[in-house]
Symmetry: C2
Subunit: 258 residues, 2 copies
DNA sequence: CGGGCTCTTGACACCCATCAAAGTTTGTGG
DNA sequence: CCACAAACTTTGATGGGTGTCAAGAGCCCG
């Protein structure tokens, strides 16, 4: 229980995630196996990417959680997106030194160098078609997540936002093989949750208790269980990214890359 | 005063916008001149892109305003981003049929075929380096705008959100040459404004009046004037995309494209 | 064992939503 | 060009959802 979030290894983790997005060939596997090197540990609250920073080497999160966020002058904080094991930083980005955001470790985080992935994307070799396709889909899902976040913050109540966030996490962690039944680790303080869903800490607390009272979730020290996914989905108007391997033909994805 | 938003022409409009993002060569100009064709008019409320739709041909907005938005089951609406003259639809998108959003005309809108731009981006010829670079920067700015929107909705008050939106519009319209001093057209109902800033119509109305009372803005039937930009910036914590032609070396942008 | 986070709870205030209705502007057809 | 309808804006009254402040309880870690 020392490092509850540790996954088996970078290659395994990424293999699980990417193969849920596109089918991977042997060459893809060999590519992913090359990701063992250059591992690095980051302490909690460490800044993985500073505001306005460019050109730091791309990295893959092996274990731990981080967040892409912005802080206002007066200290108010808004988290744009959580970064989970299997997520990648700076791989499929556009040239966007413009997006004033930073990446901060929310727990202890272990990353590994992901230059190989960025390179694969750039070279776009046919034998790595699976990897490239999957990375592009992952990027598209990331974009969709930002839109979800906008809807949550703009038009949903505290209860809806919270339910929606939990469902999103269940889905994303599920892709990385980090969900057991409907239980998963949630190594976030309520203050962090508040900075995601745009509420105060106190109200996050009350919202979680309301969900607990209604037997929708079970939450305790670093882990959650979703007790009634259907009702949560109804509450949150949740739609998972429609991407379950094959719903998009790899050809189309590649065509757009060329 | 029949069509207050009409700009001089697609080529002129784009030239102004793109040349504020990167320097354009003669070949770029010739490319942009080819955009006259295939013009089309869209009635107000017409859906330019349906939810989940893919592969419609890319278009450039020549005149009028549109919005990328999502509607919840129960009718609540959230606008992700306004699309203004000089904005482009479906040009620099990733493969993202995943982002469940649609594009709707908020006024009468005139578009023109932008396949040439998408093609230039794909081919990435050296002689069109300016166009390609500018389109990429525009896409990055678009991304940054989504992050701004998240901060607005998650962590800012009604007053701050509204001020921020007006400043964003001033900046974006300025790029397209559609701002006079600090006056610009704002052909939106308060209901639409509400769907952008995540408030009720009534409260948008009160917020605008508060801004007017404080002599920060002057707003009347389809147009606004920002009376005190500095104070508005202070209220909204507004930071324009740091992209004023040259702040980013074209080389870097291109390097990332290759 | 103590000190600091984090979580929890209560009281209270305020921002914003909702409901309702009156003005005002816009658009349209006669 | 007028008249009317529809859409939009404005205003008031009221209520509810969240924020803020404060204090206590639980927990983790040194």
């Amino acid at each position: 229980m020392r490092t509850p979030l540790r996954a088996d290894g970078p290659a395994e983790l990424l293999r699980r995630r990417l193969s849920s997005l596109a089918s991977l060939a042997d060459a893809d596997m060999r590519l992913l196996a090359g990701l063992q090197i250059q591992r690095r540990a980051h302490a909690i609250t460490e800044e993985l990417v500073g505001v306005g920073e460019v050109g730091r080497s791309p990295r893959l999160i092996v274990s731990g959680w981080a967040a892409r966020l912005r802080t206002l002058q007066d200290g108010r904080r808004q988290i744009f997106r959580l970064l989970l094991p299997g997520d990648v930083i700076g791989v499929a980005d556009r040239a966007n030194p413009l997006a004033w955001s930073s990446v901060v470790a929310l727990t202890r985080v272990e990353t590994t160098d992901a230059a190989l992935l960025a390179q694969a994307l750039k070279e776009n070799r046919p034998e790595h078609a699976g990897t490239v396709g999957a990375l592009l889909i992952a990027a598209a899902i990331e974009d969709a997540g930002l839109l979800d976040q906008i809807v949550r913050l703009g038009r949903q109540t505290a209860l809806e936002r919270t339910a929606h966030l939990l469902l999103e996490l269940r889905w994303r962690l599920g892709q990385a093989g980090l969900v057991n039944g409907d239980r998963f680790a949630l190594p976030l303080t309520q203050e962090v949750l508040a900075d995601i869903v745009g509420l105060s800490v106190v109200h996050v607390n009350r919202t979680l208790q309301s969900l607990r009272r209604d037997r929708l979730i079970n939450i305790r020290s670093g882990a959650v269980e979703l007790l009634d996914v259907d009702r949560l989905v109804a509450i949150a108007d949740f739609h998972p990214p429609r991407t379950l391997a094959g719903s998009i033909e790899p050809q189309r994805v590649l065509a757009r890359t060329a």
